[in-house]
């Protein structure tokens, strides 16, 4: 009996300790130490930001970069370690889409890339996800293996390739020069290989190489996506390498060879990928012209499937960088690892999709009511802690056609403003004075979406739209789209 009482008292003491710890103030949101202004990329092009600044560690040698900033002089060497959740699905994008063949971004080059000087490391005018992950607008296109290009007539693209670019010194290419024949082969196979993700997606009617460093693509009509497909996310490969093993030579990581900044040095399934610097790489630093790239000698990617383990690896210094982190994931690092630099980027959006062809949603008044019942300011400021943008325009702020919310016409602004009184009136006008019932399907793979759905339900319930949340597993959710 005494022993039971003692154990009960010990248990109560433990619980009290937990309770007292829970009553402590939350960790303060400390402003990240070093950022370029406008970290969210929310400024529209053409607006003036103050001169971008970077921090300089005292005692480090400094240099002026191409933007006129005083920056630390880059140091060559070292190892950068990152983490990935899964192994690469393939090593040849003709058999799996680009997202599943991440090694190609290190070992191979496309014909054009993006202007990284416009990104968060530079002027921060471009949205890293929308514009720099893959270029969707010519505004941020930057020459790469193609020094320049022109379109003499709609549907005809001519690319003038950079001279003196060498493949990595690995058999069977053995460091030979990259030419237009390689570009023609690389692009043609992506349109003709059944496993390619652009297989038969509006292929060019002809691919010509009039000169050693000139490539001409002719399409039956103009389509800007031809530019994206052909030259910005198609990596250049060597024919003699790919055609080993009956055309599957590129699928073996040991055969990975391109003109890129790194050689694929080692790959242990489920463990790590190691890249070594390509000593014959052609590109220079766009911020510090004259400095050959890459700076880092070794690039290592640890394969860590579990998110908690990846975060623990970042906390313990086992990896040097990780993204993306949500608000709640990165907050603890502000106190545990204050030396880590943080940067916010605009990620994906959260949208509600309504079946506009059925009642009651086909009545625009109902759709307006659904919109005006949503308190977007609360969602942006409280739910997302000020790190969100109001999607009130068809394109993102980094698009040259974007119009800021405060410059939109008043009737448009009204539709995206919180007005529950008007929402009820609109519902009454549409014939639903007591509201109606609605089911909202939510993907259970996204916890943020589920939480926001609960918030939206509360908002809609208050105006009479009786909302029932229907959580669906990811596979089921996507199959119903």
């Amino acid at each position: 009996m005494h022993r039971k009482v003692i154990w009960l008292l010990i248990s109560v003491a433990l619980v009290a300790a937990l309770v007292l710890s829970s009553c402590s103030q939350p960790a303060p949101s400390v402003t990240p130490g070093t950022t370029v202004k406008g970290t969210t990329g929310a400024t529209s092009p053409g607006t003036t930001t103050s001169t971008p600044t970077t921090s300089v560690t005292p005692g480090h040698e400094t240099i002026k970069d191409s933007l006129g900033r005083t920056v630390e002089k880059p140091i060559y060497g070292g190892t950068l370690t990152l983490a990935a959740a899964t192994d690469p699905k393939d090593f040849d994008e003709a058999f799996a889409n680009t997202w599943l063949t991440p090694t190609l971004g290190m070992t191979n080059d496309p014909l054009v890339t993006v202007d990284w000087r416009a990104g968060p490391s530079g002027t921060n005018e471009a949205n890293i996800m929308q514009d720099l992950y893959y270029p969707s607008f010519t505004q941020w296109i930057w020459p790469h293996l193609a020094e320049s290009y022109e379109m003499p007539s709609p549907g005809v693209w001519i690319y003038y390739l950079r001279k003196g670019v060498l493949f990595q010194n690995k058999p069977p290419v053995n460091g030979r020069e990259f030419t237009s024949a390689d570009a023609a082969y690389s692009i043609n196979r992506m349109y003709t290989k059944p496993g390619s993700w652009i297989y038969n997606a509006h292929p060019p009617t002809s691919i010509e190489t009039p000169e050693k460093y000139t490539l001409k693509l002719t399409y039956d009509r103009f389509d800007s996506y031809d530019f994206i497909r052909s030259v910005s996310i198609t990596y250049m490969v060597a024919k003699e390498n790919i055609e080993q093993n009956n055309g599957e030579g590129g699928r073996n990581w040991k055969n990975a060879v391109g003109t890129g900044p790194y050689l694929l040095n080692d790959y242990v399934v489920g463990n790590s990928i190691t890249y070594k610097k390509n000593p014959t790489y052609w590109e220079t630093d766009p911020f510090i012209p004259g400095n050959k790239l890459p700076y880092i000698d070794t690039f290592k990617v640890l394969i860590i499937p579990d998110l908690s383990t990846r975060l623990a690896a970042l906390r313990s210094g086992k990896i040097d960088q990780y993204w993306p982190l949500t608000y709640e994931q990165r907050q603890p690092f502000l106190t545990s690892n204050p030396q880590l630099k943080q940067r916010s980027i605009t990620g994906g959006g959260y949208n509600i999709y309504l079946p506009n062809n059925v009642a009651p949603y086909k009545d625009i008044r109902v759709r307006d009511a659904i919109s005006e019942a949503v308190n977007r300011d609360l969602i942006m400021n409280d739910f997302f802690h000020g790190e969100a943008l109001r999607l009130a325009f068809p394109v993102l702020p980094s698009n040259p056609e974007y119009t800021p919310f405060d410059k939109l016409p008043q009737d448009i602004k009204d539709k995206y403003s919180y007005n529950p009184t008007n929402a009820k009136k609109l519902l009454a006008d549409a014939g639903y004075p007591t509201g109606f019932s609605m089911k909202l399907t939510v993907n259970t793979a996204n916890q943020t979406a589920q939480d926001m759905a609960a918030l939206l339900k509360s908002m809609w319930d208050s105006v009479g739209i009786n909302t029932t949340l229907v959580p669906q597993e990811n596979a089921v959710f996507t199959s119903t789209l």
Partner: protein
């Protein structure tokens, strides 16, 4: 004479108290931890029933400007990442846990009684075949079976109750079967057969009333297990769908994500779950001891302690004469 007096005294004692009052009195007198458990269960039960009146806010009502706030006078348990009062959600979570626990246990007892009583009473090859199915069912790892069934049926309170009741019931049928096998060897069962009683009549009129004690114990012990299992399913995302608060769901969804920056989001529902299951288990253990004297060496209603008290009363009455 002495034995007859003792028997009369026993009968008088039995008539003076109902089973419920007797158990309650002995719970208070002999099982202090069980009493604590009973109080906890009662508090949880009343909290669930009167949640609408006890909770200061709705379970999904967000409070603007109060997202991720620590415990304070205004919000005793703090607020979550959606600005909801955690105290209110814990209270409404008690309702969910009680509904799932009680309804699941009722279904559990129903299934266990049906399978166990029929299988145990009929016996022979029928019993052997049925028990092989039960064996096969019990071979599946419990949580894996629950998750699989929930994946097929979809999330929802009715589905959770059905799945948990069914799975627990199949396992509990063993207990009922054992009790039925013990009872069916008694003379009154043979007598019922001798006078022409059907199997159904014999089971309902003679077997079930005599295995009521283990059934009650099965019910009370199942409540705690089902509450915990529901919490596990909700934690994994297969239980009660949002935004209906479930203690397990509060732990497994946003609570787990914000644990490092808002520990109150997991501490309070975790504590509520711990205290509730502790209370249910203590109460169930005490009830088992009080109703089934064979398990605890005769401290039950007709156990040796009771006999000793009766003997001492007889002696004092004799002395008074």
């Amino acid at each position: 004479m002495g034995m007859a007096t003792l028997a009369i005294e026993k009968a008088q004692t039995r008539k003076s108290r109902s089973l419920f009052v007797d158990v309650l009195a002995r719970l208070v007198r002999e099982k202090p931890m069980g009493l604590v458990g009973a109080i906890i269960v009662l508090i949880m039960f009343l909290t669930g029933i009167f949640a609408n009146f006890l909770a200061p806010h709705g379970y999904n009502a967000f409070i603007a400007g109060q997202f991720l706030k620590p415990p304070s006078l205004a919000f005793p348990m703090g607020t979550d990442n959606v600005g909801r009062d955690i105290f209110s959600r814990v209270i409404y979570g008690a309702r969910v846990s009680m509904i799932v626990g009680l309804c699941g246990s009722v279904l559990d007892v129903f299934v266990a009684t049906i399978i166990g009583s029929i299988s145990g009473f009929i016996g022979g090859k029928f019993d052997m075949v049925v028990q092989r199915f039960v064996d096969a069912f019990m071979c599946f790892p419990g949580l894996m079976l629950l998750i699989t069934l929930m994946s097929l049926m979809g999330t929802g309170m009715a589905q959770v109750i059905f799945v948990l009741g069914l799975v627990w019931g199949v396992g509990g049928s063993r207990v009922v079967r054992g009790a039925v096998i013990a009872v069916k060897e008694n003379v009154y069962i043979e007598a019922s057969r001798a006078v022409g009683g059907s199997t159904r009549t014999t089971i309902f009129r003679h077997v079930l009333p005599n295995i009521l004690a283990p059934i009650i114990v099965l019910f009370t012990t199942a409540v705690g297990g089902i509450v915990l299992a529901e919490a596990s399913l909700s934690f994994l995302g297969y239980g009660i769908p949002p935004p209906t608060p479930s203690w397990g769901g509060m732990l497994g969804t946003s609570g787990r994500s914000y644990m490092l920056i808002a520990p109150w989001m997991v501490i309070w529902p975790g504590m509520a779950l711990t205290v509730a299951v502790f209370g249910i288990n203590m109460f169930g253990d005490a009830l088992r001891d009080l109703l089934d004297p064979r398990l605890r060496g005769g401290v039950g209603r007709y156990g040796s302690a009771r006999v000793e008290r009766i003997k001492s009363r007889i002696q004092s009455m004799k002395a008074a004469r």
